[in-house]
């Protein structure tokens, strides 16, 4: 009896310690962001008070200021356009390719898969200069098209590595039945495989969406003031001193990050698998 009680107490202590750890975790990893959201809901006087204000009546004046500012809206629109276009294109190109990678054997296949892996790993800054020179040579510098082309291409490795595994795990029997009924490969792919692969496609789409939405370095070089995306605008706020406009900076940051958080939550189960290039199941 005594041993049982001791075991129970030890378990209780263990649980308490675990929760202490978990709360610390929350404070370290999430509180900084909540603090930034807090700043975005403060007036200028409240932001620049020392020691900081912990309780106040939230104000939306920073959001009003940002959302009536043409700079922010233009860059947000550019980000939306670039992301939508590159996700659509990269899915159109990448998904049929992933299916072929999963179902067929053809010469150069493993070389192609490894090249795609390397494409994901190499530092963008090291490829930026020649890309910039080439886009300039074909008259695409400072256009949204150049960023869309870059994002589409650099999403392909993500899509192929996620979708290849997904297609490989689908049963072959349904396609084979379709072939026996006289369907072409294309028809079987469109009518049978794609509907089955919808959950995988959603994951691939969101990963490529996050790549385009979060990117800074390609857009910083390939766009100008008219075609810049939100991260480029945000980075320009940070140039040198952050000045006194913390309210606008934090409010724009929050607005840019909200879509990211929503989409990450949708795919959270597959996130790590996607980001580690399919090495972890």
């Amino acid at each position: 009896m005594a041993g049982f009680a001791r075991g129970k107490r030890r378990k209780l202590i263990g649980n308490v310690l675990t929760y202490v750890g978990l709360v610390t975790l929350f404070l370290v990893f999430v509180f900084p962001l909540l603090w930034i959201v807090g700043i975005s809901l403060k007036t200028r006087e409240q932001i620049f008070t020392n020691p900081p204000v912990f309780f106040w009546v939230p104000t939306f004046e920073n959001y009003v200021q940002v959302l009536t500012q043409s700079d922010f809206l233009a860059s947000f629109g550019n980000s939306l356009m670039v992301t939508t276009a590159s996700v659509t294109l990269s899915l159109l190109i990448g998904i049929p390719a992933s299916y072929t990678f999963a179902r067929f054997r053809f010469p150069g296949q493993s070389v192609a898969m490894i090249t795609l892996l390397i494409m994901r790993m190499l530092p963008p800054v090291a490829i930026l200069l020649p890309l910039f020179v080439l886009f300039k040579a074909v008259g695409l510098s400072n256009t949204l098209a150049s960023v869309i082309i870059a994002y589409t291409t650099f999403s392909l490795p993500l899509i192929v590595w996620v979708m290849k595994d997904y297609f490989a795990n689908l049963p072959k029997e349904l396609e084979e039945a379709a072939y026996i009924d006289g369907a072409s490969r294309m028809l079987a792919f469109r009518k049978i495989v794609l509907p089955l692969a919808r959950p995988g496609i959603v994951t691939a789409a969101i990963l490529s969406l996050l790549l385009a939405w979060n990117d800074f370095i390609f857009a910083a070089i390939l766009t100008n003031n008219a075609t810049r995306t939100s991260p480029v605008l945000l980075a320009s706020y940070a140039g040198g001193e952050t000045g006194t406009n913390w309210g606008a900076i934090t409010a724009s940051g929050v607005l840019v990050v909200i879509p990211v958080i929503i989409f990450s939550m949708i795919v959270q189960k597959h996130l790590v698998q996607g980001l580690s290039s399919g090495t972890v199941k």
Binding site: V30, Y99, L117, P123, L128, V133, L134, N214, T242
Partner: protein, 315 residues
């Protein structure tokens, strides 16, 4: 026995049919099937070649040439290894190489250490642990520029939260001894969750028998962890370390937003050096050479990664 070959059985089985219309339809399907593989692969290959292959080849060429931005695309003069020589005799490049190595090793080690602790914590079976796991995903996914801005404001000397908590007036980003640590914190903060969730997936996929056997044999929790769990988790740790090394090596956004490489070049990592050579001083051939040094280093890690994951697939 299931059908092994993926040859569509239909069209071939029906070729004996006499119906001409049916034959023509058959021929069309056969044609479609024949071009299916090239049709699906070619767009990916073309895009990768145009946006990745050709630029890479061009910068490799450039790194062995004397070239200016206003000369023709292929008007450069071959200069052998002169650009690489310039690069390695540039004290700024050498210091940025050393800084990058130090920065990468320390951030990856910290991410592994914290990531492993967080993974063990999240692996405990207490109610609501899933809520914390979900919350942990947020820093890892947010726009890097926003993460960098967040920490720039938190580390602000006069009104930042960090100084307010510590009761200090430290100028984190203006002090050459502290700036690299400060920009490193952002990436450790952003990427520890990735390592944690990857290792958590590893922990949850481990068989429970060895741990139970160790408990039966009277091993302490620490002994069990050290001699049973850790060796089993090793393949996941290797993947996490290699991936994080590859991605920390390219760190750019946090530095660009927070310090721009300063103060006194104390945060000028290779990525910043390459970026500045490319787009601020327009020393394009030097930038190409420095790009290829970066590419070469990352390629070595890619090869390690490919071998590490191959071996895991066999197990």
């Amino acid at each position: 026995m299931a059908v092994q070959q993926l040859e569509p059985a239909g069209p071939y089985a029906a070729t004996a049919d006499e119906d001409v219309l049916f034959d023509r339809r058959n021929a069309w399907i056969k044609f479609q099937d024949r071009i299916f593989v090239p049709l699906t692969i070619v767009p990916t290959v073309v895009a990768s070649l145009l946006v990745f292959g050709i630029p890479l080849a061009f910068s490799l060429l450039l790194s062995f040439q004397g070239w200016k931005i206003d000369s023709g695309l292929f008007a450069g003069q071959f200069v052998g290894f002169a650009n690489y020589q310039d690069l390695f005799t540039d004290p700024l490049f050498r210091s940025s190489l050393m800084l990058t190595i130090g920065y990468t090793i320390s951030t990856v080690l910290l991410e592994l250490l914290f990531g492993l602790s967080v993974a063990l914590l999240l692996n405990s079976r207490v109610p609501f642990v899933r809520v914390f796991r979900t919350a942990l995903i947020i820093p890892m996914m947010i726009t890097p520029i926003v993460a960098a801005l967040t920490w720039k404001l938190l580390l602000d000397p006069s009104y930042g939260l960090i100084n307010a908590i510590l009761g200090t007036n430290t100028v984190w980003l203006g002090d050459p001894d502290l700036a690299l640590i400060a920009v490193g914190i952002v990436n450790v903060w952003q990427n520890t969750p990735f390592v944690a969730i990857l290792l958590l997936a590893g922990l949850q996929s481990l068989p429970s028998e060895p741990v139970e056997a160790a408990a039966v044999d009277g091993a302490s929790p620490w002994q069990t962890f050290r001699h049973v769990t850790l060796p089993l988790l090793m393949p996941y740790i290797v993947v996490a370390v290699l991936l994080r090394t590859i991605f920390e090596f390219r760190s750019f956004e946090n530095i660009w937003v927070m310090t721009g490489g300063g103060p006194a070049n104390s945060t000028k990592l290779l990525s910043v050096y390459t970026f500045e050579a490319s787009f601020l001083s327009f020393d394009l051939t030097l930038a190409a050479a420095s790009s290829w040094v970066m590419l070469f280093i990352v390629l070595i890690f890619c090869v390690c990664f490919i071998f590490a994951t191959k071996r895991k697939e066999i197990q």
